[in-house]
Amino acid sequence: MLFSSTTFLFAFLPLVLITYYIVPRAFRNAVLFVFSLVFYAWGEPVYIALMIASITVAYITGIYADKSRKGDPSDCGKAPLISMLAAVVWNIGLLLFFKYTDFFIGAANGIFGTQVRPLGLVLPIGISFYSFQTLSYVIDVYRGEVKSQKNFLALGTYVALFPQLIAGPIVRYKDIAEQLSSRRETLDNFSAGVKRFCVGLGKKVILANSIGALFETISNTPQDELSVAASWLGIIAYTFQIYFDFSGYSDMAIGLGKMFGFEFLENFNYPYISDSITDFWRRWHISLSSWFRDYVYIPLGGNRKGKLRQCVNIMIVWFLTGFWHGANWNFMVWGIYFGIILLCEKLFLLKILGRTPGIIQHLYALLLIVTGWGIFAYEDTSALLQNFKNMFGMGGLPLINSQTVFWLSQNAVLIVILVIASTPLIKRIGDQLAINSPGFYSCVCIPVISVALLIVCSAYLAGNAFNPFLYFRF
């Protein structure tokens, strides 16, 4: 099920809220777990078995790892290690099998000229997110950073929790371990959750979907009707679409979490105002990059084993980060692309950039980010290359044509709004207002804007506007 649907807004959400708040506290995890299973089964009635199996594996291996170290939390001996590795093999295995098998078969067929038939498996939605969450649990238990969860329902609630189940953020077990057993739902938190959810919904339904329609149109336009400006417009549209879609989902997840008393960490922090790519990756999908940092980069030795080793580690991490986004060459290239830029920045570029004016730094970062989305957006290699040729004037296209002017004219206001919404400007105005006139801000602005966003989003959903789900590949 998607948050951006009338089924979620006007059936699922009211039902889960009312059930959650009328049952005694002791049953609240059970309510969340059952509703989360329904939420997942809604789109994946078969693959739900897989998720339950993953939870069970994590549950058993976690408890076993804890037990086998006989009360010494620093014991990372053989038994806990084996237990952790079993869970890692299970999770990575599942991910490899469902997500990557066909890619490897295709690649092998291409390289060796074999004729192995692809499995044609449908990727279970959200598997990349919940596998990583499960992994964070078993690894942290192994490292002795958290105690294993004895209550199956609590662990199940953690993995399956519907707010972050299908599009993140990747919530780490240790961050919400306490909240799973004892959390306080408060009115202030609930209302902050409402505000956050409505803002996220608006970002997804009004902004991302509208500009996504432009990218969709441009990428489906025959080559001979395009222009250089149009191919830039297309990729800029995608740049906005993926940010507002993804961060909108994260906002909705964080907001829903608050409604049920959870505090999730932030996942985005205005990534498009970055002044370098290093900065960008501190602001974009924070839960993913910190996951890779803590569970891949640092275990590989991080920066503690010499410069060369650090460079290798960085490239490994960014290759994996790219590949995590989808089983395709373009995602790999996209990861390596950022790996190389980050390396350069680390080695010398940041120093040079530091001496240039701020505007140059921002333009530098934006250009590389947008170019990166040009790699990310096209899974078809020939379309990807064609688009780059078009963007850089090698596609034999006019600089601009009347069709492009039309697209611009239809989306000009939207693009201005998108630019403003990509910066912290609106938040700053809100914060200022909250200080200067707290009553007006909390009693008028917040409720009016939240409800208005909710209703306008319902209008877009009822009007059957373009409403894609971008994370089938993740």
């Binding site: 099920m1 089924t7 059936a11 809220l17 009115l187 608050k258 039309f406 909390s442 209008a459």
Partner: protein
């Protein structure tokens, strides 16, 4: 979430904490009121069969089965059901258009929001298809040459006739290019009439030649088209003495594509001549409506009307179907018109509004709609020879020639 905290510098009116508290209550309650309100209202309000506003059937509650659950059809049907039957659906759809217009979008779902409340349908030329369709018409002309005179009333659409009402920037193609191409490629044996100038001049003199909310021409537009055709054919224009009936509250197909609260309803003018009795015989009833108008059903099951206007659609959304009750495979009309010629009109829905004028002119009129005239007993050219057709008139709008694939049925 950063909540504003009470600072000593905050204005000294009341306690900020209590205001924040009150704000939390207002926010939470209004949010819950909306989601529970829509949930409950949606559950208790009766489901609608179709949306008149959007001119389409709405999803009904799906039947549950294990199989449909397993393959995901059940849940996706529920999603469609929930969005189709959402409470205040029509108002929400209108609100969506309003939001888009606030974003200064002048184009939605294939239509432009023109000036003076006109919806104008976008036109993207498909030269290959036009070429194919014209060659079908040419082939047909060859096959009946010598038997019947052939003419072609090619109607330009509002997007070109009323191009001054379009937004400043559009992506529409020029229909004059298409009509020029058609003129060049059409067989010399066919008399072509494209009343672009005539319609444009009339529009400039404040005659409403196209509906604001629908893609069709008005009865007045159709009259101009008819008279231009007569002039091109070298025929006299008949005298009319019409009585007028007006149908108000017409929101047409273009409105359905982008329902806007500020749209102004159209009026349909029905011109009938009390001196000219007509008999409308629905010979072959395949068409875009299940049956011809029910009021004309005879005891033997045949449909024979005594008017060009159906009573039923007057109360329905699709009010343009008032003309003949919609489009049907083959209709034969007998009138008290001036000329004894047997006329066959091969047509799209634009012809329907022009029938009052044709009926004043011709006694025997057949109308064939190639979208439905498939696998009939007689091919069109056989129909021409067996019914001693003297005159074949093609009546199509440019958009139709540019998009329809049924001209092959002329063969």
């Amino acid at each position: 979430m950063r909540r504003p905290t009470a600072k000593p510098t905050a204005r000294p009116t009341g306690k900020p904490e209590s205001k924040v508290r009150a704000g939390s209550i207002i926010t939470a309650v209004s949010f819950l009121a909306v989601i529970f309100g829509f949930a409950v209202a949606g559950a208790i309000s009766p489901d609608r069969e179709r949306s008149e506003m959007e001119n389409r059937p709405l999803m009904q509650i799906p039947e549950f089965s294990l199989k449909s659950l397993k393959d995901g059809k059940f849940t996706s049907d529920i999603e469609t059901y929930m969005s189709d039957q959402v409470f205040l659906k029509d108002q929400l759809v209108t609100l969506k258009t309003a939001a888009d217009r606030l974003l200064m979008k002048t184009y939605q779902n294939g239509v432009y929001f023109g000036s003076d409340g006109y919806y104008l349908q976008d036109y993207q030329e498909n030269r290959a298809l036009v070429e194919k369709n014209i060659s079908c018409i040419n082939d047909f002309a060859d096959s009946v040459s010598g038997k019947a005179d052939i003419s072609f009333l090619l109607v330009p659409n509002a997007v070109s006739v009323l191009s001054d009402k379009l937004p400043a920037v559009t992506q529409t193609d020029d229909q004059l290019d298409t009509s020029k191409f058609i003129k060049e490629s059409l067989s010399d044996s066919i008399t072509l009439c494209c009343p672009f100038e005539e319609l444009k001049n009339a529009a400039e003199k404040e005659t409403q030649v196209f509906y604001r909310t629908d893609h069709h021409w008005t009865s007045e537009g159709a009259q101009i088209g008819f008279e231009s055709l007569m002039t091109s054919m070298g025929e006299s224009v008949p005298e009319y003495s019409f009585q007028t009936e007006k149908l108000s509250d017409f929101y047409g197909t273009l409105y359905s594509k982008a329902p806007d609260a500020s749209a102004k309803a159209d009026e349909i003018h029905l011109y009938s001549d009390p001196e000219n009795s007509v008999t409308v015989n629905y010979v072959s009833c395949g068409g875009d409506h299940d049956t011809p108008p029910a009021e004309w059903k005879k005891p033997d099951g045949a449909y024979v009307g005594d008017s060009l206007f159906a009573r039923d659609p007057k109360t329905q959304k699709d009010k343009y179907a008032v003309f003949l009750g919609g489009n049907f495979s083959l209709i034969e009309i007998e009138t008290q018109g001036e000329s004894d010629e047997n006329v066959l009109i091969i047509k799209d829905s634009y012809a329907n509004a022009a029938m009052p004028y044709f009926c004043r002119k011709y006694k025997h009129i057949s109308m064939i709609d190639l979208r439905y005239y498939h696998m009939e007993e007689l091919s069109v050219s056989e129909y021409v020879s067996q019914n001693d057709i003297d005159r074949v008139i093609f009546l199509y709008d440019i958009d139709f020639v540019n998009s329809d694939n049924n001209f092959v049925w002329l063969d």
